[in-house]
Structures are given as C-alpha cells and as structure tokens.
C-alpha cells in the first residue's frame, strides 16, 4: 500500500523538514522554559541536599536560614547535640555577597562550614577538583560556576582565601554559586565589614561619652573589642540517628530548646512554596503562553500546508479517494511534523539552549515524554481544522480554473 502522506512529504521534503526545524526551535524554547522551572526547583532541592541536614534549627519564629534572616548563638549546638536522636550537628552561616578576585567580582553565597572533616553537615558533598578544606582559616571550596580556578586567591571582605577545591551544582535558592569557607572566617566576614567601616565604628564609639569615660580606664578598649566579635550563626544543621523520626526530634527541640526547627519537607515547602513561588508562577505563565502560541503556529502551518495542496486533494476526491484516506494524509503529516519538531526541540534545548542559559536548566525525561504527548495531541487537534478545509473541497476544483 502506498503511504500518501509519505509520498507527499517526499514530494516537498525540504519545505517539510525546514518547517519542522522552525517548529522545533519553538518547541525547544517551550521545553527550555519547563527546564528553567524544574531548574529553579532543583536549585532549591540541591541547596537542601548539599547541606546534608535532616533538620534546620533556626531563630524562633523565622523562616531562616534561606528564606529569612536567622541569627542564633554559635554555642546553641551544644544543647542541641544532647537531645535524643541527634547524631551530628554543625553550625552554618550563609551570606550572599560579591566575592572579589582580582579585577572582577562574582555574586556568590558564602557558606561558613564548621571545622571538621568531610561529611560534616554543610560541607560540599562532592568535588570535581582539588580537595576539601583542611585548614581552619583562609581556604575556600568554590562552585565552578563562579569561574574560579584551583589556586586562585579570592577576597571576601578583608581576607584573602585560596581556592583549594572546586565543586558543582552547589547553588543558593536564587541560583548563585556557593563558596565554602571555614566558619570562623565566615562569622568574621558577616560581621566585620571592611577596614573603613571598622574605623568609622571605632570613631563613633570613641566619641560616645557613655563608652569613653576618662575615670574608667580600659572601658573604651573593652567596648571596641566586644564590637569586633561575632558569636552568631544563621542555623544549626542537624543529622538524626537512623532509628529516629525527624518530626519527633524536631518537636522535642522546638519544645525544650525554644527554637524553630524545620524538617526536610518543611524546608522544601518554604523554598519551593515561598521563596521561588513568584518566579515559578512567572515561568509557569510563560510556559502556558508559549504552549498556546506553539499550538496556534502548528495549526497555522498545517492549515497552510493543506491549502497549498488543495488542488491535489480535489484530484484525489475526483478519483474517488475516501475521506478517511485524505484525513489520514493530513493527520499523518501533522504528526510527522510534530515528531520532527519535537526531536529538533529536544536537541536544541539540550545542546544549545540549556548550556548557555545563565540559570540551571533541568530537562527531566518525564517532562520530555509529557512534552512529546502534548506536541502530538496539539498536532492532531490542529490538523482537524485543515482536515475540515480539505474535506470541504469541491472535486470540481481539480478540473476547474
């Protein structure tokens, strides 16, 4: 049996393939948009995964440490360590700031990790180069998205750090790459601004008669010293024992230690539901608009293609071809167009768009499957208009003017 659709495609295959290519680029953008949304959610989850924590202990009644500022004393961990079910604890600080390297600066989330060994909560779980931090000061592990290289010297506030390790996909919920530095340095970086700021602070304290009292020698020095220390961290990361339930441990810390505690699922809800909600809605809206536009364009293309061969269809009708065959011809062509478009879209989204996009684009296989089904369904529905037009053709047109 002769495939009418196949023969017709072969007849003008160049036009057909190039139409498919154009459609494919549109589908590629749509797939990328879905990938951007997935990437945003994945960024949030990566942040949680990379922290290696089961529970986040933060300042009471805050959504910290990612969605809101949270500040707790750095010895809070001692009390939490003693709670039943708690296996490991670690202080952590997060500070999004510009990290300077030579002439350029990079926006990064500087994470202060507790002194310890690899596997401590908060430490980067895997590296792509170099080594983990071994010194308690002035070493950094950076995400490769920062553009830093091993051995680079980077400046965070007043201190220089040597990049000793590189990692990947360690990003904040906003997609900023992370730079891991020892906790003590991070506490200092969070608190001590820069030399000018410190000088200004000292000057202000010195001219304040409450602190600068001649009859109390040493008071001013003590006040200035106390202003230059930071005993706060943003959160305590907790890993719980295998036989314990995260909700139970969280509840007991909430009850007895008077802190707010989030479990993994609650944290995910905060990150995905609150932190990236607006951006996600924007992307979702774009996705809907793009899908509608794509559907409309597919419909137009198929309709135009059909109108282009209306005379041939009239001839077919004239020679007694059944309506079903003609409808099949158009629908098969529409589906073929959709399939080519989807393949081009998938290839372009994966190879061209995702790598150059500044944010993480995650193309899930399941999304691709859904995308494929959607493309085919859209093509089928779009071809209905064209089929109607084709079936309404008067066979007399074949012989007419």
């Amino acid at each position: 049996m002769i495939s009418l659709a196949g023969r017709d495609i072969m007849h003008a295959w160049g036009k057909f393939v190039f139409t498919g290519l154009g459609l494919g680029l549109l589908i590629g953008v749509t797939l990328s948009m879905a990938g951007i949304y997935r990437g945003m959610v994945d960024d949030g989850k990566a942040l949680l995964d990379n922290s290696g924590a089961d529970l986040w202990v933060v300042q009471q009644n805050t959504l910290g440490p990612y969605a809101e500022a949270s500040s707790i004393y750095d010895d809070t961990w001692r009390g939490i360590r003693n709670m039943p079910g708690v296996e490991r604890v670690a202080n952590v600080t997060y500070l999004t700031m510009q990290v300077r390297q030579g002439e350029r600066d990079v926006r990064a989330m500087v994470t202060g990790v507790t002194a310890g060994s690899p596997g401590t909560p908060g430490w980067p779980p895997y590296l792509v180069g170099g080594r983990q931090i071994t010194r308690d000061h002035y070493e950094a592990v950076a995400d490769i998205a920062t553009g830093f290289k091993l051995g680079d010297s980077i400046q965070i506030r007043r201190n220089n750090y040597t990049v000793v390790g590189l990692t990947r996909r360690m990003v904040s919920s906003g997609g900023d790459p992370m730079v891991f530095i020892p906790l003590k340095d991070a506490q200092e970086a969070q608190f001590l601004k820069d030399n000018d700021a410190i000088l200004q602070q000292r000057r202000r304290t010195t001219v304040n008669p409450v602190f600068n009292r001649p009859q109390v020698p040493g008071l001013l020095e003590a006040v200035i010293a106390s202003q230059s220390t930071n005993t706060y961290v943003n959160a305590v990361l907790v890993q719980i024992g295998a036989s314990y339930n995260a909700d139970d441990v969280a509840e007991s810390i909430r009850r007895w230690k008077r802190y707010t505690v989030y479990t993994r699922s609650q944290m995910e809800e905060i990150l995905v539901g609150k932190l990236i909600a607006t951006s996600a809605k924007q992307i979702g809206m774009f996705l809907v608009i793009l899908s509608i536009v794509s559907a409309a364009i597919v419909a137009f293309i198929i309709y135009t293609l059909t109108l282009g061969k209306i005379r041939e269809i009239a001839v077919l009708k004239l020679i007694g071809t059944r309506n079903r065959t003609i409808a099949g011809l158009i629908m098969q062509q529409a589906i073929a167009l959709g399939v080519i478009g989807f393949m081009v879209g998938k290839i372009s989204a994966t190879l061209l768009m995702a790598p150059i996009f500044p944010k993480h684009v995650l193309l899930e296989p399941l999304d691709s499957v859904f995308g494929f089904i959607a493309v085919v369904v859209i093509c089928i529905f779009s071809s209905i208009i064209a089929i109607r037009a084709a079936l309404k053709v008067d066979p007399a047109e074949a012989v007419g003017g």
Partner: protein, 382 residues
C-alpha cells in the same frame, strides 16, 4: 531517470533525518538525569603522611610593662616616644613634685633644729653630771645638805632622759627626710628592663591617677605568638613540636617551636591556645598584634593506605568511599585516621591499598548511578 530522482530525494531525506534521529537518541540518553555521571578514579596508595595542625595567632610580647605613677599627679616631663629603645634604669619621665622639694627643705631645717636641740640636751646633761659630782663631793665634806645633792641627781636623770628624747627626735626627723627623698625619687618613671616603648598614653601636663600607665614597653627578646587552633583539629598538639610561621607582612616562612600548650582552652570560641616562639627572632621585628599563620608539624606517621579527602562521602550516617568493583559502584564505609593539610587521609579500616575509588564526581552518586570514568573533570588550565 525518475527512479534515480526518487532515490536521490530519499537519500537526501535519510541524510537529514537519520543523523537527527541519532542525535535525538544521543541527547535523550547522554544528557540530563539519564546520562552517566563522569567520575575520576584513583587507586588507594600506601604511603606515610605527615599530619600538621594549622592555626592563626597574633604576635605578642611575653613580658610587657606598664609604667606609671603610684600617686595621683601631673606629668612634668616625658623623655621617650613610641619606638624608642630604652635601657634598664633609664629615666623615662617624671611626675611633677609640686611641693615635695619645699617639704624636703623644710625637713632639712627641722632636722638641723633637731640637731641643735640634741646638742643642747648633751650640754645640759654634761652640766648636770658635773653638778651632781661636785655636790656629792661637797656632801662628803659636809658643806651641803643631802636634799640639794638629791636634787642634783634628779636633775642629772632628767637631763639624760631629755638627751634620749632629743636623739630620737633627731633620728625621726632624719627618717622623715629620707622618706620624702624616697618619694621624690619615686616620682621618676624608670624603665625596669631593656626594651622598646610601645605606647605613650599621656603627655606632660596630663593628670594621672595612681596606677594609670604613662608609657608601655615590651621586652623585644620575649616576642612569641599566641596561636589558636580549632579544638577539633588540635589532636596531637604538644610542646616542643616544630612550627612554620608566616607573618602577614612577610612572604618568607620562619621557623619556631611550640613553647607550651595553654592548660586553659577558650570555651567560648572552642579553640585551644598555644604559645609558639621563634627559633630566631626575625629582623625587622614583627609588630605586636600582627596576624600570623602557624603550621605545627606532627610526627610522620607509618606507611598505610591513604586516600584524598575529596573521595570521602557521608551517606546514611556512615563515612565511606565509592569503591569500583567489577565496574560497579559500591559504597564502602571506612574508618579514618589522621589527615595532613594537603588533603590526604589515612584509612584505618574498610579498604586496602590498590583498591579503586571514586575521587571526583560531577554530581552526587548513588549505588544505582551509571558512571563514566574520565581522566579529569576540569578542563586543563589555559
């Protein structure tokens, strides 16, 4: 001819569609979550490592001196400035004596008067002695009455007592004068050792309370470094270990040794404190308070299996490494020993020398992950 034309068109279509299909399959399988994870693999080496501890500290002087008045007063003169070298016993400055010199002069005169009174008492006693002796002889010749003799003896005793009182008064006046002179000397601000002036807290004319320091000085020979080590990373820290010292202001690495580990750790900052001394005092001398990086060398450990710390993973509450056995991934829990500062960690149990382990991976691995072994994950430095 027509057949050939059709062939040509089909061929062209195949040339376009087949590579596209191939690319599509490649893209679907080799990128995204289905793609194999590129990893680098290394063999567990057998080697010895030299652990070291890293801490930061500040240069401090072991002996520092605050020199100031013991009485409230006003500074009269100050001869030294910050940075001056001074010697033991050198007068650095002095407090205003106010009326002390006049009081010393008055005391001198009072002492002279007391000397005159002493001489008078001596004369009175000599006279009383003579009288008493003469009247005693007269009584033997029956030329005077016993009552008069008794009176003369009494007068002699009085004169003796007066003499003693005058002597004591003279001594008291002398002692008071000495006290005033000592106070006068005490107004001088004197260097107690050979050293360097580090602070000049007040200038002449300033009124100081007792105990406030006018100048501060240090003994430069006693410079040491107060080093802080994180408690978790201070295992093995003890005195007499050799240390490398890098001063912030200098490039070169200096050598030193741990003088002592402080018996009291810092409970607030969770750090151990140690004092490190220089083998040879650097020249020029470092500034007090300068930040230093100190690396303390621990004894070299015997040979054993060593892995890079980048290979260590923490999965389900266990520390371990991803081992490659028959091209399959296997998470092997390990017991870790000491580590050096270059990222090498000794393995006490879990894996053997020669085992193949994953060092770097481009994403977190699971036991079911497909892996692709590559030489390196990072592009070579251009």
């Amino acid at each position: 001819m027509k057949y050939f034309f059709v062939q040509k068109r089909t061929l062209a279509l195949i040339v376009v569609l087949v590579p596209m299909l191939a690319l599509f399959i490649y893209v679907s399988l080799r990128s995204g979550p289905l793609a194999p994870v590129p990893v680098t693999v290394a063999q567990v080496e057998s080697r010895s490592i030299a652990p070291a501890l890293f801490g930061i500290g500040t240069v401090e002087a072991r002996y520092s001196y605050k020199i100031g008045p013991v009485f409230a007063g006003r500074i009269k003169f100050l001869n030294v400035h910050v940075g001056d070298q001074v010697t033991a016993g050198q007068i650095l400055g002095g407090m205003d004596p106010v009326d002390l010199d006049e009081r010393i002069r008055a005391q001198d005169l009072a002492l002279q008067r007391s000397g005159s009174q002493l001489n008078e008492a001596l004369a009175r006693r000599a006279y009383a002695q003579t009288q008493a002796r003469r009247y005693a002889e007269l009584l033997v010749a029956k030329s005077t009455s016993e009552e008069i003799v008794a009176t003369k003896k009494f007068e002699l005793k009085i004169a003796g007592t007066s003499l003693t009182a005058a002597q004591n008064e003279f001594a008291r006046m002398g002692a008071e004068r000495d006290a005033l002179l000592a106070q006068r000397v005490n107004l001088a601000l004197v260097s107690s050792v050979d050293g360097l002036i580090t602070a000049r807290n007040a200038d002449p004319g300033t009124t100081m309370v007792a105990g406030q320091s006018v100048v501060e000085m240090v003994d430069q020979k006693s410079f040491w470094i107060n080093v802080r080590f994180a408690q978790t990373h201070a295992r093995g820290l003890s005195s007499d270990l050799s240390a490398q010292i890098v001063l912030r202001s200098q490039e070169s690495v200096l050598t030193g040794r741990v003088l002592r580990v402080e018996p009291v750790a810092d409970a607030v900052t969770e750090e151990m404190l140690a004092k490190v001394v220089f083998d040879e005092m650097p020249s020029p001398l470092p500034a007090i308070g300068e930040l230093t990086e100190v690396t303390v060398m621990l004894p070299v450990l015997p040979t054993g299996p060593v892995i890079p710390n980048a290979a260590i993973q923490h999965i389900d509450g266990k520390l371990g490494v991803w081992q490659i056995k028959d091209d399959d991934l296997l998470f092997t829990p390990v017991t870790l020993g000491s580590a050096d500062l270059d990222g090498h960690v000794q393995v006490l149990a879990g894996i053997q020398t020669g085992d193949r382990i994953v060092v770097y991976s481009s994403k977190a691995l699971k036991a079911t992950s497909r892996i692709q072994i590559v030489d390196r994950l990072l592009k070579a430095k251009s």
